[in-house]
Amino acid sequence: MYQRILVANRGEIALRIFRACRELGIETVAIYSEADRGSHYLELADEAFCVGPARPVDSYLRIANVISAAEVGNVQAIHPGYGFLAENAHFNEVCRSCKIDFIGPKPEAMAMLGDKNAAREMAKKAKVPVVPGSDGLVESADEAMRFAHEVGFPVLIKAVAGGGGKGMRVAANDLALKSALQQAQSEAEAAFGNGDVYLEKYIEQPRHVEVQVLADDHGNVIHLWERDCSVQRRHQKLIEESPSTSINQKTRDAMCEAAKRMIQQADYNNAATVEFIVDKDGKFYFIEVNARIQVEHPVTEMVTGIDLIKQQILIASGEKLALRQKDVKHRGCAIECRINAENPKKNFQPSPGKIDRLIVPGGFGVRFDSHAHSGYEVPPYYDSMIGKLIVHQPTRAEAINTMKRALAELGVEGIHTTISLHQEILNHSAFVEGNIDTTFVERTLSV
């Protein structure tokens, strides 16, 4: 087992990893930018190094400084968290050549799955259903037209190197197709340095259902059931829950098995999430694999009782999975609300600044994962999420009730947050009935 790990991240996920390491008896090295200097969560690490000025590109993404901190900090492994360098195959490779374990998959598996088109091909090989799509990249409007007429409109244009909802456009007819293609290509070029796109049939009223998987270095793969992340705005998840209300048990079992096959096909180890889209008839299609731990991992932790961060560390250190598939039980219902420092009444304008007072909810079935505290200055340079509020109860109705109660208790004074938006969603009949697809927020809410 490792003696020391460097956490190449910040905020709530860094804190999450420090906690897991503390319980495993592993020392931690934190990194921070000048904007995060003095943050309270850093005090939970055993050592901390400043790696640069505020902008991520100068600090959290500065591979030389991160690796250097790992070397002078004398660590055996690096946990990348999510975002930043978590899915950077080059960084992964650099760790390996510096003889530092990367807590995640091998660089080859990561690179393969990072190419969305290559991942689709791999899914087909693993007999995992995929959304009908173009066979490879689409470069011209003519090619796009041909494909669209084959599978039928509407179609979705997606960036090959994409993520986070960028480089995606929907086109409902020939006229829209040409400009949508150009827009997607330029957005992809700007965001990822790669303007290559492919096309898929656009699934209407889709549900986003993903499966959590763990794979060790000894060939053992298990799934930890699904999460439904259909409550989204502009492809950003707002609320996640498990189990999904969009699928029956037969579909659930099929999806979870398909996710395992996908991970085995990719020769992947450590934690991964296999994303699917479910159409209105309950048919599921593979979308992509997220080769990292995800923001919403606590949802799975609550319903399975399994600490995913600890599992990641154990796997990376060479341990065999102690859990067998039959040991992974799903209990009750868990819901997570992402609390963002944004103003829902002003088009979700970011709201950085000082949290004058933070009042944290508690009680039976409530978990709050956050690095924030009273007096904490939310910096403007990073992701706006300041915390995750998670609840777990025996039934979905009880979980919704507890979440509403916890959101009412949660007090964040001094900045705007999305708490009111979550209340609105949880009170909406469509949500209560479990009738949500990824267009729900934009279609129905006042924002």
Binding site: G38, E43, E47, N65, I67
Partner: protein, 163 residues
Amino acid sequence: MSSSGSGPGDVFDVRKIRRLVELMNEHDLGEVDLRQGDQRIRLRRGQEPVVSMLAPPVAAQPPPAAAAAPAADAASTPEEDPNAIFITSPMVGTYYSAANPEESPFVKVGDQVGPDSVVCILEAMKVFNEIPAECSGSIAAILVENGDAIEYGQKLFRVEPAS
């Protein structure tokens, strides 16, 4: 701790102090006296370890840079002097005072430096980076020691600006 701007390089890093106290107890040491630049910390163990932070020492054993001014409290160390300029680290790495162990250090206290003068090496990922002063003046204090782990922005040298 981090909030006061101290980090792993500082003598006053609480984690370091805690470890020193542990070591003292473990090895039954009575007293530990450490110096870094013109800061000093002394831990003396009686019934319990006692921590006292001394102002820059005067007269008998002054670190080469300390002016004779007997600053009475730790708060007004030369590092806090608003007129002082500092050479700070542009990266994370290990500090080396010379190009290699056989050679003499790039600079010593009193040396004149210009913007391109190499003042030290910072090693990261097996690459030895020569660090330029990027200012003009004379070296007033060397704030780190050979082999120290250095973080971004850490003060390496205090410089008396060229007048």
